[in-house]
């Protein structure tokens, strides 16, 4: 079946289109070249005046896995309240799998990636992601606190051995990328250390966080994994943590590095309140170094729940829990999880400044190919707040009006009021489509050129950008219309994106012994078979290019 999307204004940064009027043709789930005047489309959508973009891609959203279920359990109140509503799944911090897929699709998103899949919990995460309808998914594997890696490093293993280990783990757990969460810190917390400096030897294995960070960044480069090491940095949420953030940038010595939810890592300790914005310093460092990318982790005001593998940081925040309850878990010699409900209050100085720091980062980092729109769902806010966030980026008057409602001391502590930048539609398309696809190595997504998967979103161009991005007119997934005027009109299953880097299988015999001796699990059972992912249908493999990055 041939479908024609006629006469829309096409925003397709990867192919150099910035709003020019044109037609798109879809066939068998993909975008095809214009078949010429002789072709008779089976279906034509007249998109005159409408804005057309590829389906949006969220590179960092906690949508599945153990901590998400713990968060759902802890947030029983919000589910009880939701049960009073006619369709109770709107805007929840902890939506069900079904609501997750629906809400994303209704906002024009066709993929979202779980950024913290623990090796031991990977099978669970995949089982859960398969139950999210409509959108594509995938997971980033959390490494850097796993005792096996630390043992390997402590034994003086070279770069090849580390890369083989990482390569095996990515294959075995069907992951798309490598994430490091407070490298060494989660492990140290298991020995009751509540802080670990970048150059301090951790307990037991006596390895420094810097060594872990550089080893993982090096392994990612060696294996040729498209996505750079995805780093949840040091001292999350602690005033003054900008020094460690800037130090991480230097530590990787030119290797590619993605700093995730960098808003939480861009804090100074200056001023009367010993808490200040260091967004300008971070932005300056990012602007100067093309090997660095970031996503923001914007906070938005209201009740949410924070869920992170970073038990060291979460234990530090537990006293701020709202409501007053929280869960910490030490997990399976590979990481941990901390779940702390939290309410960001617009009248609280610290929260207002966090909000401003996030927006400063968005506006000061110049290259929309290297900064991504996230709220670190649900940690900064539920992903359903993206339309409002887009409005804040595109509409300075709205930004100033919102700022005026916040804590009165805020203007003295942020330069936000003086920043005049407004994102264009093309920049939004870059930041939410083209750039995420590129930085994850999804070559046939995030753009609208021939051969791309027909994941497409069509909007009415409204001056109120919140309204515009909240309710697209049409959303196509794999060429099928799934959403019309904000309503899901068809259900289908997404796919799971993975990489399968080559590695020397000799590492497996060492690992098999370690698994027998320590993990109480056979390595063969740890490995996830292809048929376990969506019943064997739906793995999408992305090429690794050793040495290419």
């Amino acid at each position: 079946m041939l479908t024609k999307l006629a006469g829309g204004r096409i925003y397709d940064p990867a192919n150099g289109h910035d709003g020019a009027v044109g037609d798109l043709f879809l066939q068998d789930g993909r975008i095809v070249a214009d078949p010429g005047p002789g072709a008779a489309p089976d279906e034509v959508h007249d998109l005159t005046g409408r804005v057309v973009m590829a389906g949006a891609i969220d590179i960092h959203s906690h949508i599945a896995g153990g901590k998400v279920n713990i968060a759902r359990l802890l947030m029983a109140e919000e589910h009880r309240m939701a049960a009073q509503e006619p369709c109770g799944c709107v805007g929840l911090a902890t939506p069900s799998t079904h609501a997750t897929g629906c809400r994303y699709a209704q906002m024009g998103y066709t993929a979202a990636f779980e950024p913290a899949m623990l090796p031991s919990n990977a099978r669970h995460a995949h089982l859960e992601m398969a139950d999210i309808p409509l959108i594509d998914t995938g997971g980033y594997l959390v490494l850097g606190n796993d005792d096996l890696l630390l043992e390997l490093l402590a034994s003086g293993a070279g770069e090849e051995a580390v890369a083989d280990y990482v390569g095996f783990m990515l294959n075995a757990t069907r992951s798309l990328a490598v994430k490091a969460v407070n490298p060494g810190g989660i492990n140290a917390f298991k020995y009751n250390q509540r802080r670990l400096d970048v150059d301090e030897n951790g307990p037991f294995h006596a390895i420094t966080p810097r060594r872990i960070l550089t080893a993982l960044a090096g392994a990612v480069q060696r294996l040729g994994i498209p996505h750079p090491l995805h780093l949840h940095g040091f001292n999350l949420g602690v005033p003054g943590n900008v020094e460690a953030t800037l130090d991480s940038i230097v530590a990787v010595d030119g290797l590619r590095l993605h700093l995730t939810h960098v808003q939480f890592h861009a804090y100074g300790a200056e001023g009367d309140r010993k808490f200040s914005s260091a967004a300008a310093r971070v932005a300056e460092a990012v602007n100067r170094r093309p090997n660095i990318s970031v996503d923001v982790g914007q906070i938005m005001f209201g009740q949410t729940v924070t869920a992170s593998a970073d038990t060291m940081a979460q234990m530090g925040n537990a006293g701020l829990a709202h409501p007053k309850k929280w869960v910490m878990m030490d997990i399976e010699c590979d990481a941990g999880c901390g779940v702390v409900p939290f309410r960001y209050r617009d009248k609280a100085f610290v929260n207002a400044l966090q909000w401003a720091i996030g927006l400063e980062l968005f506006l000061l980092i110049e290259d929309p190919w290297r900064i991504f729109l996230t709220t670190d769902h649900p940690n900064g806010a539920p992903f359903t707040s993206y339309p409002e966030l887009i409005r804040l980026l595109m509409d300075r008057d709205h930004r100033l009006a919102r700022m005026a409602e916040l804590h009165p001391a805020l203007p003295e502590h942020t330069i936000l009021g003086s920043l005049t930048r407004e994102y264009s539609l093309g920049e939004i398309a870059t930041m939410t489509r083209a750039a995420p696809a590129r930085i994850l190595g999804l070559t046939d997504r995030g753009h609208l050129g021939p051969g791309a998967v027909a994941d497409i979103t069509v909007y009415t161009d409204r001056p109120d950008r919140h309204a515009m991005f909240e309710t697209p007119d049409l959303v196509f997934k794999d060429g099928r219309l799934i959403v019309r005027d904000g309503v899901v009109v068809a259900f289908l299953q997404g796919r799971t994106h993975v990489v399968e880097p080559a590695y020397d299988p000799k590492i497996e015999s060492w690992m098999a012994r370690r698994f027998d001796e320590r993990m109480g699990q056979r390595l063969t059972h740890f490995r996830i078979a292809e048929e376990e992912i969506r019943g064997g249908n739906g793995l999408v493999r992305h090429a690794c290019q050793p040495g290419a990055f």
Partner: protein
């Protein structure tokens, strides 16, 4: 999965190595199971009584029955769909099944507007109630094995329900602790003889006390942490013992407090859990300490995980009226069975189905050979996950999911296939977002 199965050499038993055991939630994946063709299984590698008993129970297939009369599967499915289509207050429970079976059961329940619960959720709910009320600090089995230097077992010995707990997760020396030593304390409960034997190489202290007052002992310990010299006795345990244990907890490097909530007696057993959770939290002011709540027979943890991700709320939930409503009291299956008119009972791990009130219509999915107090309206024999077909099950610590494989082919359908067929035979409705 046929490809997983070794072919049968004539007349000789087939040996399956590294078999995943799906029964008690400890995730043993090292079993050697011998198959005497056509379908008799015997566990050779462990004395675990649960594994031995369950793997050996593989009677040959029998046909489904409707009102006691053997019928082909398709007919039983039609009959079940007809009964369910007319149900006013359906209950989909038991839910002893793998992840796929749980998905199918929950989809069916959603379609019917039923209440869902697991047969064994009493123990789980003692834990979940506390998790939801206060949160907790918890750990997993490999952390216990590799980092714990002091294990405090609260209440009756959990090995009664999880037989290889001590053998696999406590007896080996902790690999990531210096020195690699461990001691075990039993509080308000006595170790079984098998547990004592497995722990013979480790220092073991037994403080018997009154199991019904385990919570009091936990509270006394928590109170003594700040200043052990001011400890008070509790639950029949003297002040001196409480003081010594509090001191030991303070100086442990990584203490684990383990309990099996299913064994706590009394209607307020969740208060016992709450006090244990409080003890763990208080101990973390001095050192590291984590709880290990054990519950996990018949994949209850996996089924609860699926329910939580599917609906945002755990089991004991009503799916009548659109948005899921969770109520651990009202939607406890044992209570709801009194008002339910049609019950779908799923028990694929064990040949046991409870008795229901006389006017209840029961559709039972259970292994062949299951004995019933009253013949159910529909009985569909099903295979056992991890024996008859590949299956995902969760470990008790909620983190690790394992995949068991199919060992034998008795020609029995899996729960997922049967429930999907029943759902497909119901009048169709468009799914809503």
């Amino acid at each position: 999965m046929a490809s997983d199965r070794p072919t049968h050499p004539i007349g000789r038993p087939v040996v399956h190595h590294d078999v995943v055991c799906p029964f008690c939630g400890l995730g043993c994946d090292d079993l050697t199971v011998e198959e005497e063709p056509p379908s008799t299984l015997a566990v050779r590698s462990t004395d675990c009584p649960v594994a031995r008993e369950r793997f050996s129970h593989t009677p040959v297939a029998e046909p489904p029955r409707v009102a006691g009369v053997p019928v082909p599967l398709a007919e039983a499915v039609e009959a079940a769909a007809a009964l369910l289509g007319a149900a006013q207050a359906p209950l989909v429970a038991g839910l002893g099944t793998d992840v796929d079976g749980a998905r199918a059961a929950l989809s069916l329940a959603e379609r019917l507007g039923a209440v869902v619960d697991h047969a064994l959720s009493d123990g789980l709910y003692r834990n979940l109630a506390v998790l939801q009320r206060t949160g907790w600090i918890a750990t997993t089995l490999a952390e216990l094995r590799n980092r714990c230097d002091l294990l405090l077992v609260a209440g009756p010995d959990p090995a009664a329900l999880h037989p290889r707990l001590f053998e696999r997760w406590v007896a080996p020396a902790p690999a990531f602790q210096t020195p690699p030593s461990r001691e075990v304390v039993f509080l308000c409960g006595e170790p079984l003889d098998t547990t004592r034997a497995v722990l013979s190489g480790l220092p073991v202290t037994v403080l018997p006390g009154d199991p019904a007052r385990t919570g009091d002992a936990a509270a006394a310990l928590a109170a003594a942490l700040a200043d052990p010299s001011r400890a008070a006795g509790a639950a029949g345990i003297g002040a001196g013992d409480i003081a010594a244990l509090a001191e030991r907890l303070r100086t442990a490097r990584y203490a684990v407090v383990a309990w099996g909530a299913a064994a706590f007696a009394g209607p307020h057993a969740d208060l016992t859990v709450e006090r244990l959770v409080g003890l763990v939290r208080d101990a973390n002011r001095h050192t590291r300490c984590a709880g290990l709540p054990l519950a996990g027979h018949d994949n209850i943890v996996g089924v609860n995980q699926v329910c939580t991700w599917r609906f945002g709320v755990p089991l004991r939930t009503s799916l009548a009226g659109g948005t899921p409503r969770h109520d651990p009291h009202r939607f406890d299956w044992a209570r709801y069975a009194a008002v339910a008119d049609v019950v779908v009972w799923v028990s694929s791990f064990r040949p046991e189905v409870p008795a229901f009130p006389a006017d209840t219509t029961v559709v039972a999915l259970a292994p062949p050979g299951t004995a019933f107090a009253d013949e159910p309206a529909v009985f569909i024999p099903v295979g056992t996950p991890g024996i008859d077909h590949p299956a995902h099950v969760f470990r008790s610590d909620t983190v690790v999911a394992l995949r068991g494989r199919g060992l034998i082919d008795r020609g029995l359908p899996g729960v997922a296939a049967v429930l999907k067929a029943i759902a497909a035979a119901l009048p169709q409705e468009a799914p809503a977002c």
